[in-house]
Symmetry: C2
Subunit: 342 residues, 2 copies
């Protein structure tokens, strides 16, 4: 990336900030009062013409003002922008809103997404904690009725999952004991992700005549184990997307894309930096080509566990929202870490 003169940088930054604020193409005269130096509009025009030629600015049509190009935004985000500093007040507001709902990691993420959507006026996405290397730490079988039980599983990364099992036979003490034996021998201490159907089948063989009676319980447990590694996608504030004229042309497409979840999830796994900013076509999906994505990974107990992010127009307020997301992410990490520790 070439070096821009100091004045060009200032002009580029001013165009971008103005365009972010108003959404209208920015003309040379509009810019004058926003610049930290005094020159005439003609000078600004000359500079802008060069910036256009270099590819940092674009013109919707000849007689219109300038609009930042994707390359312009990138330069701004990487080198020009000075991050907004959150006030203590804002920090406390975030903490308060998140602090109330620590019943489960899912709830925390849900609240976080909701807060994020409100804070940014964008759609907020997040993934629930996942850890593909998580090991099964503990399993409990809780009888609830004669033929009804709950299986509870805790993994090394603190994920707690439970499910209901229904059996055709009564859950006698014998069966419960046998279940615990099998579990202690073959499940505890093993990675949750390995408890798949293939594993179950080899297991069934080794059980012999007990296999039949154990099957429902073990199937439920292995399903539980396999969901423990997988993360769920949460989406909030979709309606905020309607407020941005930039993307209003294909909001429907965009919303459908977000709803599907999977492609986004792929995108997230391809970018594991602490903070990721994808502007316009920098991502591979056509549906997102007019949008910017900002997302950040949160840690639980120092372990990378999931993603929190926002989707908005390319003229999103990077300088304000990136620090906001960063702080929110750190708070979520802290809350979830505290929740896991014993």
């Amino acid at each position: 990336m070439e070096e821009l003169s100091d004045r060009k940088q200032k002009i580029l930054a001013a165009v971008i900030e103005q365009y972010i604020a108003t959404g209208e193409p920015v003309g040379s005269k509009t810019l004058l009062p926003l610049l930290p130096f005094s020159v005439s509009s003609a000078t600004v025009r000359n500079e802008m013409a060069e910036l256009s030629e270099m590819g940092y600015l674009e013109q919707p049509h000849t007689s219109a003002g300038r609009v930042p190009s994707q390359m312009g935004y990138r330069y701004y985000v990487d080198r020009l922008m000075n991050n907004y500093e959150l006030s203590d007040r804002e920090k406390r507001t975030i903490e308060m809103k998140l602090g109330t709902s620590v019943r489960s990691p899912e709830k925390v993420l849900e609240t976080a997404s909701s807060v994020l959507a409100d804070m940014t006026n964008c759609a907020a996405v997040s993934t629930t904690p996942s850890d593909s290397e998580a090991v099964i730490r503990r399993v409990e079988l809780v009888p609830i009725g004669a033929r009804l039980a709950m299986i509870v599983m805790l993994t090394s990364s603190g994920i707690l999952k439970s499910t209901i099992v229904r059996t055709d036979y009564e859950l006698t003490l014998d069966i419960v004991e046998a279940f615990y034996n099998i579990v202690n021998k073959l499940f505890i201490g093993n990675p949750a992700s390995e408890m798949n159907l293939a594993f179950l089948q080899t297991l069934a063989v080794s059980l012999g005549d007990k296999a039949l009676i154990m099957t429902p319980l073990l199937v439920a447990l292995s399903e539980l184990a396999s969901t423990a590694g997988k993360s769920e996608m949460l989406l909030e504030g979709q309606s905020n997307l309607l407020n941005h004229s930039q993307i209003s042309s294909n909001v429907y497409e965009l919303m459908e894309f977000l709803r599907k979840g999977e492609p986004l999830s792929n995108l997230f796994s391809a970018h594991k930096d602490e903070m990721n900013v994808l502007i316009g076509k920098e991502n591979m999906y056509r549906e997102l080509e007019n949008s910017s994505l900002i997302f950040s990974r949160y840690n639980i107990g120092g372990r990378d566990s999931g993603t929190l992010g926002i989707v908005g127009p390319t003229n999103i307020d990077y300088a304000r929202l990136i620090p906001g997301l960063k702080y929110l992410t750190s708070v979520v990490g802290k809350i979830l870490t505290d929740a896991v520790e014993e």
Copy 2:
């Protein structure tokens, strides 16, 4: 409601069905091939003029075709429409899609909403099962770590809830036993809705010196009990609302309204029929005045438990969607009833 001549009824029905199909005002000539009798366009015009005068049809402007009024839709839904009969194929599709996810009532409702949204091309709303008279049937305390436990609660209506509790002290056998004593004496058999904070406070007094140590566990249990009675609102397919030109003027308002959930929930509780159709301003909310609501209550074990519904434009395909929703509702009821039985 006055009686309309047979011919007027047929014309009204044809106008409505055509308008539902195309979304365009319907003129007298367009109508001719759709009528089961042969008359001239002039005759149809005369009849339509009378229907307009009576209030069943409206004209966007003098030289336009006719559009059904709210009163017109009402007459159609109540007396003219002949319900579409679902094919076995469609029925099986619905059953299949719902059958796969019987892990928890919430999941079932989530899938049902999703299926409903796809099926109707509308936004789908549902409430998770609730039963304000539910009685606490069973409570289990499952130790998971030294200071970490899970409380599981089952109500008479089959609702199963669980939560995690963290304590500052070790969960000794004594404490667990004491907990079960208190629970058996004061919780089991009592309505979940009564286990509120006030109840907890009187309880705390009667416990004396044990109160302090029991508090976190009992607070968690009472929170659990109070959530068991409350139903949650699920929303799917919001983006479908963007496809209907009728409501596109204020989609944002509408989406925000649906997201809030509470007003909708009030609306649901005010209409407890098995099948409810609210057309345009028949409901009290300004945000819904251009929309129709169709919702239906599902039963679990014969007990009215929750709502499934759709929100769409007033020119929604009543004849097809009402039977569809009805069938879906019955399937959901059946699945949840089966899940509760032991």
